[in-house]
């Protein structure tokens, strides 16, 4: 029981120490704008990759039909 209490008391202390260490390593003080930019970049990246969308495609392609159309080249 005494041991359990000791461990229970130590765990939050260890968590706090580790959180402090992590916050020292990846402190975002003054970098909030950059963190938001990175977050948006990651969201965009996953959206594009999971939907098969190219940011830049060296192949000129054009889509017609269905309910929408897209193009990344001049219509021939």
């Amino acid at each position: 029981m005494i041991e359990n209490n000791g461990i229970t008391a130590i765990i939050p202390h260890i968590i706090m120490i580790n959180l402090e260490r992590v916050s020292k390593i990846i402190s975002i003080k003054g970098l909030k704008g950059y963190v938001i930019f990175i977050s948006l970049l990651f969201i965009g990246y996953f959206y594009l990759q999971l939907n098969g969308i190219f940011i830049y495609n060296s192949t000129s392609s054009e889509h017609e039909g269905g309910d929408h159309s897209y193009s990344n080249s001049h219509h021939k």
Binding site: I25, I26, S27, I28, K29, G30, L31, Y34, V35, F37, I38, L41, F42, G44, Y45, F46, L48, Q49, L50, N51, G52, I53, F54, I55, Y56, N57, S58, T59, S60, S61, E62, H63, E64, G65, G66, Y70, K76
Partner: protein
């Protein structure tokens, strides 16, 4: 007459030895000399009596702060007791020193150089051997690099001084910098004084005084001026490295478990006519994933020849059509004893956002009417990885830290430009 505030005694009034005007001595008997702000006469103050010196220091007309101005720094009230303009003997550069006095704390100095301010305090640092030392490490503030060694002489002065300022002329001085800090020594024939300073921005200087003062415009970069960022560059570096690692891991997971390419069609076309254009219709094939990208891998065996392909990919389920095109060309030869080649017999065309369904494509091949293209293989792979997105996102992640790093590098080079001990090469 009130000195710093009503808690402290009024300044002592003494007459100027030359023009007989009143001079206020805020430090009373601590004043060892003074210089009249009206006529510029410099007097040694000895045994409570001003003794006229042979020197006549230039009368001060242009200065940022007036003697007697009260500065409230760190909740302590200091009074400005003097102003000295010093000139470096080699390069003739001039800087200004304003001495601030507090009856309990003592003397601090506000140094102004090309519109940059540094608050300088006496330092407890002392080194027995320092004249050839190029770097000094202090426990709390880190490593200081030697920036300059110089001698100076007093050019202008006004106010009272705790020693004979002309006695310090041509003393050896050196500055060690670790922005925003500076560590300096001043070696006279009898003593060595060490000072520690910190760069102060204009906003902070203005907040110390009640009066509205026009501060001089900054020119260039001060030796101890910090690189102006409102964040730590180390934190930016760590954040960027962590982001890049997460992006690489994400790409690896996507490539391994989600975007797993699968061959859905492989067809072979050959020329059996003499026309310059012909259309082939592929056998139908299935795209099994919604919203995926597909690669059309073209392979030919051209030699000194070319062909152009125009694809119309048709979704037989929805009627959607995708148009894309590409070309292949390959030339090789042997000239001047060396073999050469140009172009390629392989090309990959990519299409994105394909819906799940049954497809076929119409392929229009155009080639040189005088030459047969031989054969062309078209392999279709669905659910391919879009590496170009990964590369573009990676570049976007790196642009900001690389830009900051470039700016920092330019700043450091510029900052050390006037130093004889610069670690940079400016050739």
């Amino acid at each position: 007459m009130i000195g710093i505030n009503n808690k402290y005694p009024s300044p002592k009034i003494v007459p100027c030895a030359k023009c007989n005007r009143d001079i206020k001595l805020y430090t009373h008997q601590k004043a060892a000399s003074f210089c009249c702000g009206h006529c510029g006469a410099y007097s040694i103050y000895d045994k409570q009596k001003p003794i006229k010196s042979n020197y006549n220091i230039t009368k001060i007309k242009e200065k940022t702060f007036k003697v007697g101005t009260v500065f409230k720094i760190e909740e302590l009230e200091f009074v400005l007791i003097n102003f000295i303009a010093k000139e470096e003997t080699s390069y003739k550069t001039i800087w200004f020193e304003y001495t601030l006095f507090h009856p309990i704390i003592g003397y601090w100095t506000l140094n102004e150089s090309d519109g940059h301010f540094t608050l300088i305090k006496p330092s407890k640092y002392y080194a027995q051997s320092f004249e050839n030392v190029k770097s000094i490490t202090l426990p709390k503030t880190g490593n200081y690099q030697l920036y300059s060694k110089y001698k100076y002489k007093v050019k202008l002065a006004e106010g009272e001084f705790f020693d004979d300022i002309l006695d310090k002329n041509y003393s050896t001085s050196a500055d060690y910098v670790n922005p925003p800090y500076i560590l300096s020594y001043e070696k006279t024939k009898d003593e060595i004084f060490w000072y520690h300073g910190e760069y102060i921005d204009h906003k902070t200087v203005k907040s110390w005084i009640k009066e509205d003062v026009d501060l001089p415009t900054k020119d260039g970069i001060a030796p101890n001026q910090p690189f102006s960022l409102n964040f730590s560059q180390d934190h930016l570096r760590r954040l960027s490295v962590i982001s890049v690692i997460i992006l690489i891991i994400s790409q690896f997971i996507l490539s391994t478990y989600i975007t797993t390419p699968k061959e859905v069609s492989s067809q072979y076309y050959s020329q059996n006519d003499n026309l310059s254009q012909r259309t082939y219709v592929s056998l139908p094939f299935e795209i099994t994933r919604d919203n995926c990208a597909a690669d059309f891998v073209l392979t030919s065996n051209l030699n000194y020849n070319w062909l152009e392909t125009d694809f119309t990919l048709v979704n037989e389920t929805t009627g959607d059509q995708y148009y894309f095109s590409g070309s292949l060309e390959y030339y090789s030869g042997y000239t001047d004893g060396e073999s050469w080649s140009e172009g390629s017999n392989n090309s990959t065309l990519s299409v994105g956002q394909l819906k799940k369904g049954r497809y076929h494509y119409n392929l229009l091949v155009t080639n040189d009417i005088n030459k047969s293209f031989g054969s062309l293989s078209v392999v279709v792979k669905e659910n391919v990885d879009i590496l170009s997105n990964f590369i573009i996102v990676l570049l976007c992640l790196l642009i900001f830290p690389l830009y900051i790093s470039y700016k920092r590098s330019r700043f450091d080079r510029k900052q050390w430009y006037n130093s004889n001990y610069s670690p940079y090469n400016y050739d």
